[in-house]
């Protein structure tokens, strides 16, 4: 019986540990070696941030939330303007070319290309699948076709921001506690994001940062600003 009790306690401890795993924020920035803080005030175009908030239901289904996402977009853009405005840079909002489908198509392809390159950085630079030929170097680029953006938005750099945020529903939280009691660790919601700064002359990703935070919340202005501040903490502008 004693054995059984010890075994139960160990299970409960494991389960609770599962809930409390890595309660701390992680950010890891990368930059190209040649990067230097530019002396003059840079014009930075803020590309439309790619943001989606979801609720994690008790059974583990992610439910996208339109109202939370709308709110988060407003908070994040406000926070970005504030944080960038305090640096040596002018932030201009991105506007797609009007009445020029061919040009708009080129913009869209660049945005999609960045999406792919950004995900590759996450997988191959930060993740476990390192590319041997990179040898740890951070030298990712979109290529010189970015001049299309440079011409149309008249900016030196483009800032891309990607955020995904999930929140455990009330049922999920109850399940996490309930299952922890019987020794099963169930993951809850987590905030994940990345930002990258692209030089619009060369197309190079000159700076990149990733954020993982199990506590963050983009639904309110305060925590949203805190997330953006962490994400852009060492943006070298």
């Amino acid at each position: 019986m004693d054995d059984r009790r010890r075994w139960c306690i160990r299970l409960i401890a494991t389960g609770l540990a599962g809930i409390l795993v890595s309660g701390c924020v992680q950010t890891t920035a990368s930059r190209t070696e040649v990067w230097q803080r530019i002396p003059t005030t840079a014009r930075v175009v803020l590309m439309t941030p790619d943001i989606e908030l979801s609720e994690l239901t008790a059974g583990g289904v992610l439910e996208p939330k339109a109202d939370w996402t709308e709110r988060a977009k407003i908070h994040v853009v406000e926070a970005l303007s504030g944080v960038i405005g305090a640096k040596n840079a002018n932030l201009v909002p991105y506007r797609a070319p009007e009445n020029d489908p061919a040009r708009e198509h080129e913009h869209n392809q660049l945005i999609k290309l960045h999406d792919t390159v950004g995900r590759s950085v996450l997988v191959h630079h930060y993740g476990q699948l390192k590319l041997p030929n990179k040898d740890g170097k951070f030298d990712w680029t979109l290529g010189t076709d970015v001049r299309v953006l440079r011409e149309d938005v008249e900016a030196d750099y483009a800032l891309f921001v990607f955020m995904r945020d999930t929140y455990a529903s009330a049922g999920r939280k109850a399940a996490m506690v309930g299952l922890a009691i019987i020794g099963v660790g169930l993951p809850g919601g987590v905030q994940f994001g990345f930002a990258s700064l692209v030089d619009l002359k060369t197309g190079d990703l000159v700076w990149f940062n990733r954020l993982v935070d199990p506590q963050g919340d983009l639904r309110d202005p305060g925590p949203a600003r805190s997330a953006v501040t962490k994400l852009l903490a060492d943006l070298p502008l």
């Binding site: 989606e52 239901t57 289904v61 939330k65 109202d67 399940a175 309930g178």
Partner: protein, 391 residues
């Protein structure tokens, strides 16, 4: 005894938990979408729309979407004729892929795959499939499916927790399987309902009700020809079963068309013929000769553009390369050439097979004809090399 009481308490706790975690709207409780209706921003439906709008934004700039304005206007026109007041809610994207499919997203993003355009005989058959997809949209089937999955995932968690507590983990996986299979059954109920809506819409628009079952019959034959070896997702969720064909035939038998039932064959051919060679080339790349042969048989029977079809019939034999296929390929290419409307590549393919079967004189003639028809062909140097070797 105390353990049993604890177990009951746990069971109660999870029952309550699942109860409170199942939000607004049980499956089946939804009403049809009204024209122009948009979901409230704080609803689960708005979340689904947001997620698929992201997909749509990406699809808009995809290289797989056929941009041709004439073909798009044509298909959108058929959609509007069927959907009436929902016309403006539904946006058509023609996707270049040889598989048979059409998909509807909850926000009205309708994908029509070119494999469907290749397989429909006429506008009535296309209209039936489009009507089926419009049915998914009007009846909010994605929302129903999502709510069903969400409720079932919660229930699965409940069972998994219970069985883990009782120390019988493997029962949990059996329960999960059962729950999963009922998710698929739910989706088939939606399919049946969409079949009915599609049929109703096509009949109301004046199309021949007999055509609805025919498109499934064609697919059923293709699947049988491949001996169920095709791992297509489409067949898993849209089973072209005998039951389905029988239901549609019974519906057609009961239906008395209001006027002269329409096939819309000429309009359909005028819109799709310019793309048929591209669609057939994509189909050939799937390397499933048995099914492709049935597609070619149907196109030959329909009679439009026989020179082009005979060329692809020859290509099918040449690529398959079974015993006797060389001779069959040569016959098909020669029939194509004789029709006077064969694609120029017919002569090149004919030359290749004749070269293989060592009929050098005829091979030379075929290659020479190809160069005559296509003096600037990208592979002209290769063909000239063949001609030198055949001397």
């Amino acid at each position: 005894m105390r353990r049993a009481a604890g177990f009951v308490r746990l069971l109660l706790a999870f029952t309550l938990l699942v109860g409170c975690a199942t939000p607004r709207g049980a499956p089946g409780a939804v009403t049809d979408l009204k024209p122009g209706e948009r979901p409230a921003l704080d609803s689960d439906e708005a979340g689904l729309w947001m997620a698929v709008t992201r997909v749509e934004t990406s699809l808009k700039t995809s290289g797989h979407v056929v941009a041709d304005p004439a073909l798009n206007t044509y298909v959108q026109g058929v959609v509007c004729r069927l959907a009436g007041p929902h016309c403006d809610d539904i946006r058509v994207y023609i996707v270049q892929t040889p598989h048979f499919n059409a998909t509807m997203a909850p926000n009205g993003m309708l994908q029509v795959w070119t494999g469907l355009l290749l397989r429909a005989d006429n506008e009535a058959q296309l209209a039936y499939v489009l009507g089926h997809e419009i049915g998914h949209y009007q009846r909010r089937h994605t929302l129903q499916a999502f709510r069903d999955v969400r409720a079932k995932a919660n229930a699965t968690l409940f069972f998994a927790a219970l069985t883990a507590a009782a120390g019988v983990g493997y029962v949990g996986s059996l329960v999960q399987l059962a729950v999963l299979s009922s998710v698929f059954a739910f989706s088939r109920d939606n399919e049946r309902e969409a079949d009915e809506v599609g049929f109703e819409l096509m009949v109301r628009a004046g199309y021949d009700p007999q055509e609805a079952a025919k498109i499934w019959e064609g697919l059923l034959a293709e699947r049988k020809a491949m001996k169920d070896s095709d791992p297509s997702i489409f067949f898993a969720t849209h089973p072209p079963t005998d039951e389905r064909v029988a239901t549609l035939k019974a519906l057609a038998a009961k239906t008395v068309p209001a006027g002269e039932p329409e096939l819309g064959r000429e309009r359909f051919l005028a819109a799709t013929l310019p793309f048929r060679a591209v669609m057939l080339r994509d189909e050939m790349r799937l390397r499933r000769a048995a099914a492709t042969q049935l597609v070619i048989d149907r196109l030959l029977a329909s009679g439009a553009g026989p020179g082009e079809i005979q060329f692809f019939q020859g290509e099918l034999y040449r690529i398959r390369g079974d015993t006797g296929d060389d001779a069959k390929a040569i016959r098909a290419y020669e029939t194509a050439v004789a029709s006077g409307a064969a694609p120029p590549e017919t002569s090149r393919s004919l030359g290749l097979v004749l070269m293989k079967t060592k009929e050098n004189v005829r091979a030379r003639a075929a290659f020479a004809r190809y160069l005559e028809l296509q003096p600037n062909a990208q592979d002209r140097e290769m063909i000239r090399e063949y001609l030198r070797r055949l001397d």
